[in-house]
Symmetry: C2
Subunit: 253 residues, 2 copies
Protein backbone atom coordinates (compact mmCIF):
# COMPACT_ATOMS: atom_id res chain seq x y z
CA UNK A 1 0.00 0.00 0.00
CA UNK A 2 1.24 3.47 -0.89
CA UNK A 3 1.72 5.93 1.96
CA UNK A 4 1.69 9.74 1.77
CA UNK A 5 2.70 11.74 4.81
CA UNK A 6 3.16 15.29 3.59
CA UNK A 7 0.34 17.60 2.62
CA UNK A 8 2.79 19.12 0.15
CA UNK A 9 2.96 15.93 -1.87
CA UNK A 10 1.81 16.75 -5.44
CA UNK A 11 -0.71 13.90 -5.39
CA UNK A 12 -2.39 15.46 -2.35
CA UNK A 13 -2.44 18.84 -4.08
CA UNK A 14 -4.15 17.23 -7.07
CA UNK A 15 -6.79 15.55 -4.82
CA UNK A 16 -7.43 18.78 -3.02
CA UNK A 17 -8.12 20.54 -6.32
CA UNK A 18 -11.15 18.25 -6.69
CA UNK A 19 -12.89 20.41 -4.09
CA UNK A 20 -13.27 22.92 -6.97
CA UNK A 21 -15.78 22.53 -9.79
CA UNK A 22 -13.21 23.60 -12.36
CA UNK A 23 -10.90 20.69 -11.61
CA UNK A 24 -13.79 18.22 -11.36
CA UNK A 25 -15.02 19.26 -14.81
CA UNK A 26 -11.51 19.11 -16.27
CA UNK A 27 -10.64 15.65 -14.96
CA UNK A 28 -14.18 14.22 -15.04
CA UNK A 29 -13.56 12.92 -11.52
CA UNK A 30 -14.71 13.88 -7.99
CA UNK A 31 -13.96 13.09 -4.38
CA UNK A 32 -16.30 11.50 -1.84
CA UNK A 33 -15.93 11.12 1.91
CA UNK A 34 -17.18 8.77 4.62
CA UNK A 35 -17.84 5.03 4.95
CA UNK A 36 -21.40 5.07 3.62
CA UNK A 37 -20.67 6.98 0.41
CA UNK A 38 -17.48 5.03 -0.31
CA UNK A 39 -19.29 1.72 0.25
CA UNK A 40 -22.05 2.70 -2.18
CA UNK A 41 -19.46 3.84 -4.74
CA UNK A 42 -17.54 0.54 -4.47
CA UNK A 43 -20.71 -1.39 -5.35
CA UNK A 44 -20.65 0.32 -8.76
CA UNK A 45 -18.29 -1.04 -11.40
CA UNK A 46 -15.62 1.24 -12.86
CA UNK A 47 -16.42 4.09 -10.51
CA UNK A 48 -13.80 4.22 -7.76
CA UNK A 49 -10.36 5.11 -9.12
CA UNK A 50 -8.56 5.44 -5.80
CA UNK A 51 -9.33 4.73 -2.16
CA UNK A 52 -7.71 6.99 0.45
CA UNK A 53 -7.45 5.94 4.09
CA UNK A 54 -6.15 7.99 7.01
CA UNK A 55 -3.69 5.86 9.02
CA UNK A 56 -5.40 4.07 11.88
CA UNK A 57 -8.68 3.71 9.95
CA UNK A 58 -9.48 0.11 8.98
CA UNK A 59 -11.38 -1.00 5.92
CA UNK A 60 -14.46 -3.07 6.80
CA UNK A 61 -13.58 -6.73 6.15
CA UNK A 62 -16.64 -7.35 4.01
CA UNK A 63 -15.58 -4.77 1.43
CA UNK A 64 -14.07 -6.00 -1.84
CA UNK A 65 -11.34 -3.61 -2.88
CA UNK A 66 -9.05 -5.94 -4.84
CA UNK A 67 -9.34 -4.00 -8.06
CA UNK A 68 -8.93 -0.57 -6.44
CA UNK A 69 -5.71 1.28 -5.70
CA UNK A 70 -5.49 2.13 -1.97
CA UNK A 71 -3.33 4.92 -0.50
CA UNK A 72 -2.78 5.47 3.19
CA UNK A 73 -2.27 9.07 4.29
CA UNK A 74 -1.30 10.95 7.46
CA UNK A 75 -3.82 12.73 9.68
CA UNK A 76 -2.53 16.00 8.26
CA UNK A 77 -3.41 14.97 4.69
CA UNK A 78 -6.81 13.69 5.87
CA UNK A 79 -7.63 17.09 7.33
CA UNK A 80 -6.84 18.78 4.03
CA UNK A 81 -9.17 16.53 2.05
CA UNK A 82 -12.02 16.66 4.58
CA UNK A 83 -15.07 18.79 3.79
CA UNK A 84 -16.70 18.11 7.16
CA UNK A 85 -15.45 18.76 10.67
CA UNK A 86 -16.26 15.21 11.71
CA UNK A 87 -14.35 13.40 8.98
CA UNK A 88 -14.35 9.59 9.09
CA UNK A 89 -10.88 9.43 7.54
CA UNK A 90 -11.92 7.61 4.38
CA UNK A 91 -12.15 9.11 0.90
CA UNK A 92 -12.44 7.93 -2.68
CA UNK A 93 -11.67 9.49 -6.02
CA UNK A 94 -14.47 8.58 -8.42
CA UNK A 95 -15.04 8.79 -12.14
CA UNK A 96 -17.94 10.89 -13.50
CA UNK A 97 -20.01 8.60 -15.68
CA UNK A 98 -22.59 10.95 -17.14
CA UNK A 99 -21.66 10.19 -20.74
CA UNK A 100 -22.78 6.59 -20.32
CA UNK A 101 -26.35 7.48 -19.39
CA UNK A 102 -28.86 7.39 -22.24
CA UNK A 103 -32.00 9.51 -21.67
CA UNK A 104 -33.84 7.42 -24.26
CA UNK A 105 -33.69 4.49 -21.85
CA UNK A 106 -35.54 6.43 -19.15
CA UNK A 107 -39.26 7.02 -18.70
CA UNK A 108 -39.44 9.19 -15.57
CA UNK A 109 -37.35 12.32 -15.17
CA UNK A 110 -36.64 14.88 -12.46
CA UNK A 111 -35.37 18.15 -14.00
CA UNK A 112 -33.69 20.90 -11.96
CA UNK A 113 -33.77 24.47 -13.29
CA UNK A 114 -31.25 26.82 -11.67
CA UNK A 115 -31.18 25.32 -8.15
CA UNK A 116 -28.53 26.94 -6.00
CA UNK A 117 -28.60 25.23 -2.61
CA UNK A 118 -26.41 22.09 -2.56
CA UNK A 119 -28.48 20.58 0.28
CA UNK A 120 -31.67 20.95 -1.75
CA UNK A 121 -30.10 19.39 -4.84
CA UNK A 122 -28.71 16.42 -2.89
CA UNK A 123 -32.02 15.90 -1.10
CA UNK A 124 -33.93 15.98 -4.41
CA UNK A 125 -31.54 13.40 -5.92
CA UNK A 126 -32.07 11.17 -2.84
CA UNK A 127 -35.86 11.64 -3.06
CA UNK A 128 -35.94 10.96 -6.81
CA UNK A 129 -34.01 7.75 -6.14
CA UNK A 130 -36.50 6.75 -3.42
CA UNK A 131 -39.45 7.49 -5.72
CA UNK A 132 -37.98 5.23 -8.41
CA UNK A 133 -37.24 8.02 -10.91
CA UNK A 134 -35.08 6.90 -13.88
CA UNK A 135 -32.94 10.00 -14.38
CA UNK A 136 -32.12 13.39 -12.87
CA UNK A 137 -31.24 16.18 -15.32
CA UNK A 138 -29.51 19.33 -14.04
CA UNK A 139 -29.96 22.36 -16.26
CA UNK A 140 -27.68 25.36 -16.67
CA UNK A 141 -27.30 27.42 -13.49
CA UNK A 142 -27.88 24.47 -11.18
CA UNK A 143 -25.02 23.72 -8.78
CA UNK A 144 -22.56 20.96 -9.78
CA UNK A 145 -23.88 17.53 -8.66
CA UNK A 146 -20.35 16.56 -7.63
CA UNK A 147 -20.12 19.39 -5.10
CA UNK A 148 -19.24 17.72 -1.74
CA UNK A 149 -22.40 19.05 -0.04
CA UNK A 150 -24.63 17.74 -2.82
CA UNK A 151 -22.92 14.35 -2.56
CA UNK A 152 -23.39 14.31 1.22
CA UNK A 153 -27.10 15.18 1.20
CA UNK A 154 -27.80 12.67 -1.56
CA UNK A 155 -26.45 9.92 0.76
CA UNK A 156 -25.22 7.64 -2.02
CA UNK A 157 -28.04 8.12 -4.51
CA UNK A 158 -25.47 9.37 -7.05
CA UNK A 159 -24.53 5.69 -7.37
CA UNK A 160 -28.14 4.50 -7.81
CA UNK A 161 -29.67 6.89 -10.30
CA UNK A 162 -28.27 8.40 -13.53
CA UNK A 163 -27.51 12.11 -13.17
CA UNK A 164 -26.78 14.19 -16.26
CA UNK A 165 -26.16 17.87 -16.95
CA UNK A 166 -27.93 19.09 -20.06
CA UNK A 167 -29.69 22.12 -21.49
CA UNK A 168 -33.27 21.71 -20.21
CA UNK A 169 -34.98 23.14 -23.30
CA UNK A 170 -33.21 20.49 -25.40
CA UNK A 171 -34.27 17.84 -22.91
CA UNK A 172 -37.89 19.00 -23.06
CA UNK A 173 -37.87 18.90 -26.88
CA UNK A 174 -36.54 15.35 -26.82
CA UNK A 175 -39.16 14.31 -24.23
CA UNK A 176 -41.97 15.76 -26.31
CA UNK A 177 -40.80 13.82 -29.35
CA UNK A 178 -41.24 10.70 -27.23
CA UNK A 179 -44.72 11.91 -26.08
CA UNK A 180 -43.59 12.04 -22.44
CA UNK A 181 -45.62 14.70 -20.57
CA UNK A 182 -43.53 17.50 -19.05
CA UNK A 183 -44.82 19.18 -15.87
CA UNK A 184 -43.39 22.45 -14.64
CA UNK A 185 -44.03 24.03 -11.25
CA UNK A 186 -45.29 27.58 -10.71
CA UNK A 187 -47.32 29.37 -8.09
CA UNK A 188 -49.16 31.35 -10.77
CA UNK A 189 -51.18 30.14 -13.75
CA UNK A 190 -50.75 26.54 -12.77
CA UNK A 191 -53.19 23.71 -12.04
CA UNK A 192 -53.43 22.08 -8.63
CA UNK A 193 -51.16 19.02 -8.65
CA UNK A 194 -53.89 16.67 -7.43
CA UNK A 195 -55.80 17.28 -10.67
CA UNK A 196 -53.09 15.30 -12.50
CA UNK A 197 -53.38 11.53 -12.18
CA UNK A 198 -50.39 9.36 -11.30
CA UNK A 199 -48.27 8.71 -14.38
CA UNK A 200 -46.01 5.90 -15.53
CA UNK A 201 -43.83 8.18 -17.61
CA UNK A 202 -43.35 11.89 -17.12
CA UNK A 203 -40.85 14.66 -16.44
CA UNK A 204 -41.17 17.01 -13.48
CA UNK A 205 -39.29 20.32 -13.34
CA UNK A 206 -38.61 22.37 -10.20
CA UNK A 207 -36.90 25.74 -10.21
CA UNK A 208 -34.61 28.13 -8.37
CA UNK A 209 -35.15 28.59 -4.60
CA UNK A 210 -35.94 32.30 -4.83
CA UNK A 211 -37.23 32.85 -8.35
CA UNK A 212 -38.73 29.51 -9.34
CA UNK A 213 -38.50 28.15 -12.87
CA UNK A 214 -37.40 30.41 -15.73
CA UNK A 215 -40.26 31.94 -17.70
CA UNK A 216 -38.93 30.51 -20.95
CA UNK A 217 -39.10 26.93 -19.67
CA UNK A 218 -42.57 27.44 -18.14
CA UNK A 219 -43.82 28.11 -21.68
CA UNK A 220 -42.38 24.85 -23.01
CA UNK A 221 -44.08 22.49 -20.54
CA UNK A 222 -47.35 20.61 -21.08
CA UNK A 223 -48.78 21.76 -17.76
CA UNK A 224 -47.52 23.77 -14.79
CA UNK A 225 -48.50 22.52 -11.35
CA UNK A 226 -48.82 24.18 -7.97
CA UNK A 227 -49.15 22.80 -4.46
CA UNK A 228 -51.79 24.66 -2.42
CA UNK A 229 -50.70 26.58 0.69
CA UNK A 230 -53.34 26.10 3.41
CA UNK A 231 -51.60 28.14 6.12
CA UNK A 232 -49.69 31.40 6.11
CA UNK A 233 -46.28 30.38 4.76
CA UNK A 234 -45.47 31.95 1.41
CA UNK A 235 -44.13 28.83 -0.23
CA UNK A 236 -42.71 25.36 0.31
CA UNK A 237 -39.02 24.49 0.26
CA UNK A 238 -38.23 23.25 -3.27
CA UNK A 239 -37.06 19.80 -2.12
CA UNK A 240 -40.26 19.35 -0.08
CA UNK A 241 -42.32 20.35 -3.13
CA UNK A 242 -40.40 17.84 -5.28
CA UNK A 243 -41.05 15.10 -2.67
CA UNK A 244 -44.80 15.77 -2.53
CA UNK A 245 -45.08 15.79 -6.34
CA UNK A 246 -42.89 12.73 -7.00
CA UNK A 247 -44.87 10.65 -4.48
CA UNK A 248 -48.16 11.96 -5.83
CA UNK A 249 -47.18 10.78 -9.33
CA UNK A 250 -46.20 7.41 -7.90
CA UNK A 251 -49.30 6.72 -5.87
CA UNK A 252 -51.99 4.49 -7.22
CA UNK A 253 -49.68 2.80 -9.70
Amino acid sequence: MKYIQSSKNPVVKQWKKLLTKKERDLTRTYIIEGFHLVEEALKQEDTVLELILVEGIDLPQKWTVDSVSVTMVSDEVGKILADTETSQGIFAICRQREDEHDPDQAGTFMLLDGLQDPGNIGTIIRTADAAGIDMVVLGKGTVDPYNPKVLRSAQGSHFHIPIVRKELSETITALKERSIPVYGTALENGVEYTSISPQSSYALIVGNEGNGMSKELLKETDRNLYIPIYGKSESLNVAIAAGILLYHFKNGQ
Copy 2:
Protein backbone atom coordinates in the same frame (compact mmCIF):
# COMPACT_ATOMS: atom_id res chain seq x y z
CA MET B 1 -33.15 56.56 18.75
CA LYS B 2 -30.54 54.93 20.93
CA TYR B 3 -27.13 54.29 19.39
CA ILE B 4 -24.55 51.70 20.44
CA GLN B 5 -21.09 51.79 18.93
CA SER B 6 -18.97 49.49 21.04
CA SER B 7 -19.22 45.72 20.96
CA LYS B 8 -18.19 45.82 24.62
CA ASN B 9 -21.41 47.57 25.60
CA PRO B 10 -23.20 45.35 28.18
CA VAL B 11 -26.43 45.48 26.15
CA VAL B 12 -24.60 43.99 23.16
CA LYS B 13 -23.11 41.30 25.37
CA GLN B 14 -26.61 40.44 26.57
CA TRP B 15 -27.97 40.24 22.98
CA LYS B 16 -25.06 38.07 21.93
CA LYS B 17 -25.86 35.63 24.72
CA LEU B 18 -29.15 34.92 22.93
CA LEU B 19 -27.17 32.90 20.42
CA THR B 20 -27.04 30.26 23.21
CA LYS B 21 -29.99 28.05 24.17
CA LYS B 22 -29.28 28.54 27.86
CA GLU B 23 -29.82 32.28 27.71
CA ARG B 24 -32.85 31.96 25.44
CA ASP B 25 -34.48 29.56 27.91
CA LEU B 26 -33.61 31.78 30.86
CA THR B 27 -34.95 35.01 29.41
CA ARG B 28 -37.75 33.46 27.32
CA THR B 29 -36.56 35.59 24.40
CA TYR B 30 -34.68 34.99 21.16
CA ILE B 31 -33.01 36.93 18.36
CA ILE B 32 -34.00 36.95 14.68
CA GLU B 33 -32.17 38.34 11.68
CA GLY B 34 -33.06 39.71 8.25
CA PHE B 35 -35.85 41.80 6.73
CA HIS B 36 -38.25 38.94 6.02
CA LEU B 37 -38.18 37.41 9.52
CA VAL B 38 -38.37 40.80 11.26
CA GLU B 39 -41.30 41.86 9.08
CA GLU B 40 -43.21 38.65 9.92
CA ALA B 41 -42.45 39.12 13.63
CA LEU B 42 -43.69 42.72 13.58
CA LYS B 43 -47.05 41.54 12.24
CA GLN B 44 -47.55 39.64 15.51
CA GLU B 45 -48.69 41.59 18.55
CA ASP B 46 -46.53 41.60 21.68
CA THR B 47 -43.71 39.71 20.01
CA VAL B 48 -40.92 42.13 19.10
CA LEU B 49 -39.28 43.64 22.18
CA GLU B 50 -36.49 45.49 20.42
CA LEU B 51 -35.51 46.29 16.87
CA ILE B 52 -31.78 46.56 16.09
CA LEU B 53 -30.54 48.32 12.96
CA VAL B 54 -26.97 48.58 11.71
CA GLU B 55 -26.25 52.20 10.79
CA GLY B 56 -26.88 52.90 7.12
CA ILE B 57 -29.72 50.36 6.96
CA ASP B 58 -33.15 51.93 6.50
CA LEU B 59 -36.45 50.61 7.78
CA PRO B 60 -38.97 50.04 4.97
CA GLN B 61 -41.44 52.93 5.07
CA LYS B 62 -44.49 50.68 5.13
CA TRP B 63 -43.45 49.11 8.44
CA THR B 64 -45.24 50.20 11.61
CA VAL B 65 -42.73 50.24 14.44
CA ASP B 66 -44.24 52.97 16.67
CA SER B 67 -44.65 50.68 19.65
CA VAL B 68 -41.23 49.08 19.35
CA SER B 69 -37.95 50.29 20.81
CA VAL B 70 -35.35 50.78 18.06
CA THR B 71 -31.59 50.82 18.61
CA MET B 72 -29.03 51.73 15.97
CA VAL B 73 -25.69 49.95 16.19
CA SER B 74 -22.29 50.14 14.50
CA ASP B 75 -21.12 47.71 11.82
CA GLU B 76 -18.90 46.11 14.46
CA VAL B 77 -21.88 45.31 16.70
CA GLY B 78 -23.86 44.05 13.70
CA LYS B 79 -21.11 41.56 12.87
CA ILE B 80 -21.22 40.20 16.42
CA LEU B 81 -24.95 39.56 16.31
CA ALA B 82 -24.98 38.07 12.80
CA ASP B 83 -25.38 34.33 12.42
CA THR B 84 -24.93 34.44 8.64
CA GLU B 85 -22.08 35.71 6.53
CA THR B 86 -24.44 37.77 4.42
CA SER B 87 -26.19 39.66 7.20
CA GLN B 88 -28.80 42.23 6.18
CA GLY B 89 -27.99 44.40 9.21
CA ILE B 90 -31.43 44.12 10.82
CA PHE B 91 -32.25 42.13 13.95
CA ALA B 92 -35.05 41.85 16.49
CA ILE B 93 -35.26 40.54 20.02
CA CYS B 94 -38.51 38.59 20.35
CA ARG B 95 -40.53 37.15 23.19
CA GLN B 96 -41.18 33.38 23.34
CA ARG B 97 -44.92 32.92 23.53
CA GLU B 98 -45.27 29.17 24.02
CA ASP B 99 -47.17 29.47 27.26
CA GLU B 100 -50.04 31.17 25.49
CA HIS B 101 -50.69 28.28 23.13
CA ASP B 102 -53.45 25.88 24.17
CA PRO B 103 -53.18 22.40 22.61
CA ASP B 104 -56.89 21.86 23.31
CA GLN B 105 -57.67 24.49 20.69
CA ALA B 106 -55.84 22.56 17.99
CA GLY B 107 -57.04 19.65 15.84
CA THR B 108 -53.99 18.82 13.69
CA PHE B 109 -50.55 18.31 15.18
CA MET B 110 -47.01 17.77 13.92
CA LEU B 111 -44.85 16.11 16.63
CA LEU B 112 -41.04 15.96 16.45
CA ASP B 113 -39.24 13.21 18.36
CA GLY B 114 -35.51 13.82 18.88
CA LEU B 115 -34.76 15.71 15.65
CA GLN B 116 -31.22 17.03 15.60
CA ASP B 117 -30.74 18.93 12.36
CA PRO B 118 -31.84 22.58 12.66
CA GLY B 119 -32.48 22.81 8.92
CA ASN B 120 -34.83 19.81 9.05
CA ILE B 121 -36.74 21.23 12.02
CA GLY B 122 -37.17 24.65 10.42
CA THR B 123 -38.24 23.09 7.12
CA ILE B 124 -40.80 20.89 8.90
CA ILE B 125 -42.22 23.94 10.74
CA ARG B 126 -42.48 25.77 7.40
CA THR B 127 -44.13 22.74 5.76
CA ALA B 128 -46.56 22.22 8.65
CA ASP B 129 -47.54 25.89 8.31
CA ALA B 130 -48.09 25.45 4.55
CA ALA B 131 -50.19 22.32 5.13
CA GLY B 132 -52.43 24.19 7.56
CA ILE B 133 -51.37 22.27 10.68
CA ASP B 134 -52.61 23.83 13.96
CA MET B 135 -49.62 23.16 16.23
CA VAL B 136 -46.04 21.84 16.19
CA VAL B 137 -44.88 20.02 19.33
CA LEU B 138 -41.16 19.46 19.93
CA GLY B 139 -40.35 16.58 22.25
CA LYS B 140 -37.32 16.12 24.46
CA GLY B 141 -34.08 15.77 22.54
CA THR B 142 -35.27 17.89 19.64
CA VAL B 143 -33.18 20.98 18.92
CA ASP B 144 -34.43 24.32 20.32
CA PRO B 145 -36.93 25.93 17.91
CA TYR B 146 -35.35 29.35 18.62
CA ASN B 147 -31.95 28.20 17.31
CA PRO B 148 -30.99 30.74 14.59
CA LYS B 149 -30.72 28.05 11.91
CA VAL B 150 -34.18 26.67 12.75
CA LEU B 151 -35.60 30.20 12.58
CA ARG B 152 -33.93 30.80 9.23
CA SER B 153 -35.14 27.59 7.56
CA ALA B 154 -38.68 28.12 8.87
CA GLN B 155 -38.77 31.47 6.97
CA GLY B 156 -41.19 33.16 9.36
CA SER B 157 -43.54 30.26 10.10
CA HIS B 158 -42.66 30.63 13.80
CA PHE B 159 -44.97 33.66 13.65
CA HIS B 160 -47.80 31.79 11.89
CA ILE B 161 -48.13 28.52 13.76
CA PRO B 162 -48.02 27.74 17.50
CA ILE B 163 -44.84 25.88 18.48
CA VAL B 164 -44.58 24.27 21.92
CA ARG B 165 -42.02 22.10 23.69
CA LYS B 166 -43.61 19.29 25.64
CA GLU B 167 -43.04 15.67 26.68
CA LEU B 168 -44.44 13.72 23.70
CA SER B 169 -45.85 10.82 25.72
CA GLU B 170 -47.93 13.32 27.72
CA THR B 171 -49.06 14.95 24.48
CA ILE B 172 -50.09 11.57 23.04
CA THR B 173 -52.09 10.73 26.18
CA ALA B 174 -53.93 14.05 25.94
CA LEU B 175 -54.62 13.52 22.22
CA LYS B 176 -56.02 10.06 22.85
CA GLU B 177 -58.38 11.44 25.49
CA ARG B 178 -59.71 13.72 22.78
CA SER B 179 -59.99 10.74 20.34
CA ILE B 180 -57.50 12.32 17.95
CA PRO B 181 -55.68 9.58 16.02
CA VAL B 182 -51.89 9.55 16.48
CA TYR B 183 -49.72 8.31 13.62
CA GLY B 184 -46.08 7.41 14.10
CA THR B 185 -43.56 6.74 11.35
CA ALA B 186 -41.39 3.62 11.14
CA LEU B 187 -39.79 1.62 8.37
CA GLU B 188 -40.65 -1.65 10.13
CA ASN B 189 -44.02 -2.98 11.28
CA GLY B 190 -45.87 -0.05 9.81
CA VAL B 191 -48.67 0.27 7.29
CA GLU B 192 -48.22 2.01 3.96
CA TYR B 193 -49.28 5.64 4.39
CA THR B 194 -51.65 5.57 1.42
CA SER B 195 -53.81 3.02 3.28
CA ILE B 196 -54.80 5.84 5.70
CA SER B 197 -57.46 8.21 4.35
CA PRO B 198 -57.09 12.00 4.61
CA GLN B 199 -58.05 13.18 8.11
CA SER B 200 -59.53 16.37 9.50
CA SER B 201 -57.90 15.89 12.91
CA TYR B 202 -54.78 13.86 13.64
CA ALA B 203 -51.26 13.97 15.00
CA LEU B 204 -48.25 12.89 12.96
CA ILE B 205 -44.91 12.06 14.60
CA VAL B 206 -41.53 11.93 12.85
CA GLY B 207 -38.31 10.88 14.54
CA ASN B 208 -34.56 11.37 14.76
CA GLU B 209 -32.59 11.59 11.49
CA GLY B 210 -30.47 8.52 12.17
CA ASN B 211 -32.50 6.38 14.54
CA GLY B 212 -36.10 7.28 13.80
CA MET B 213 -38.75 7.51 16.52
CA SER B 214 -38.06 6.11 19.97
CA LYS B 215 -39.37 2.59 20.51
CA GLU B 216 -41.39 3.70 23.53
CA LEU B 217 -43.34 6.26 21.52
CA LEU B 218 -43.91 3.84 18.62
CA LYS B 219 -45.85 1.66 21.07
CA GLU B 220 -48.13 4.51 22.11
CA THR B 221 -49.37 5.49 18.64
CA ASP B 222 -52.59 4.30 16.97
CA ARG B 223 -50.79 3.33 13.77
CA ASN B 224 -47.26 3.59 12.46
CA LEU B 225 -46.86 4.55 8.81
CA TYR B 226 -44.14 4.04 6.25
CA ILE B 227 -43.47 5.58 2.86
CA PRO B 228 -42.42 2.97 0.29
CA ILE B 229 -38.97 3.21 -1.27
CA TYR B 230 -39.22 2.32 -4.98
CA GLY B 231 -35.54 2.86 -5.84
CA LYS B 232 -32.28 2.02 -4.08
CA SER B 233 -32.02 4.78 -1.48
CA GLU B 234 -32.22 3.50 2.08
CA SER B 235 -34.61 6.14 3.36
CA LEU B 236 -36.07 9.58 2.80
CA ASN B 237 -34.91 12.75 4.51
CA VAL B 238 -37.20 13.29 7.53
CA ALA B 239 -38.48 16.68 6.35
CA ILE B 240 -39.33 15.22 2.93
CA ALA B 241 -41.19 12.37 4.63
CA ALA B 242 -43.12 14.86 6.78
CA GLY B 243 -44.05 16.86 3.66
CA ILE B 244 -45.33 13.80 1.78
CA LEU B 245 -47.41 12.66 4.79
CA LEU B 246 -48.83 16.09 5.71
CA TYR B 247 -49.99 16.68 2.13
CA HIS B 248 -51.37 13.16 1.88
CA PHE B 249 -53.50 13.77 4.98
CA LYS B 250 -54.66 17.07 3.50
CA ASN B 251 -55.66 15.81 0.08
CA GLY B 252 -59.24 15.08 -0.75
CA GLN B 253 -60.53 17.24 2.08
